[in-house]
């Protein structure tokens, strides 16, 4: 996969941040990171002329965006797609995911 190096770095960084959390699962975290990378790839709309190396170099510049999206998705496990969630006396309100994905397409038709 073109993004394996980036994936490994993100997995290492987020694992260091989340490893002490109750119920932490690195397998699920990896899925969330892969999904976040795919979201950025989709949003960038790479032209056909972009090589794998060019895509990787470009994705590196979106490290913090991918990290934030992956962390957000991981924190929403169990309450996916909810804007707010009340449960057993605890109430949480979530920001809109779109506000994190600040990625402009390279080219637009």
């Amino acid at each position: 996969m073109v993004t394996s190096e980036l994936l490994a770095t993100l997995l290492e960084d987020l694992t260091a941040e989340l490893k002490d959390d109750v119920g932490f699962s690195q397998d699920i975290l990896q899925i969330k990171i892969e999904q976040a990378i795919r979201k950025v790839i989709t949003a960038r709309r790479y032209p056909a002329s972009y090589s794998d190396d060019m895509k990787l170099a470009d994705l590196e510049t979106f490290y913090s965006v991918i990290r934030d999206v992956a962390l957000y998705d991981y924190r929403q496990i169990g309450v996916e797609f909810e804007a707010q969630h009340t449960e057993n006396g605890t109430s949480r309100t979530y920001i809109r995911p779109a506000t994190m994905l600040k990625v402009l397409p390279i080219a637009q038709l």
Binding site: R75, V79, N88
Partner: protein
């Protein structure tokens, strides 16, 4: 899954096993046997011990907020509940006989005596030392199980420790 991972905390549960009789012992701690028709039977004291299966770790949403709207779920008064444990439906096998540990790990009692055959130790063998869970280390018993379509609320009653 429909409960938030971010709200979950680490707990343990233990399911109740068999209720077994206690045996009478002599001053050296040996079991006293009675012989009936050539067969030896351990003499029972008339008291019983409740055995529990080894505790299982799990994560769940426990809350000590027992305001009116939580205490009157489905119109049922939770009475003297001390905490509410919220889980997804069918996530845990616990019922009103189970024990719950929270913020302290279960400990095990030193047991080195013959117990009657039971579901935990069917061979009627000597239980190895340190095998039996110490029920006194548990924090809660389950006083009520309140299932809804997607969740189960367990009303927990604090135990004197």
């Amino acid at each position: 899954m429909a409960t938030s991972l971010a709200n979950k905390q680490k707990l343990w549960y233990a399911l109740q096993g068999d209720v077994v009789p206690r045996y009478e012992r002599d001053s050296d701690g040996n079991i006293i046997y009675d012989e009936i028709d050539g067969e030896r039977y351990p003499r029972q004291t008339g008291e019983y011990d409740t055995l529990y299966y080894p505790p299982v770790e799990f994560i769940g949403n426990i809350s000590f907020e027992l305001g009116w709207r939580y205490a009157h779920v489905y119109g049922i008064t939770l009475g003297d509940a001390d905490a509410i444990l919220l889980m997804n439906l069918h996530e845990l096998p616990i019922d009103e006989t189970s024990l719950i540990w929270f913020q302290n790990e279960p400990t095990f009692t030193d047991v080195n005596e013959l117990l009657p055959a039971n579901s935990l130790y069917p061979a009627n063998d000597l239980i190895p030392t340190g095998k039996l869970v110490d029920t006194a280390s548990a924090n809660f018993s389950v006083s009520r199980v309140l299932p809804s379509k997607r969740f189960v609320r367990y009303a927990l009653k604090g135990l004197d420790r």
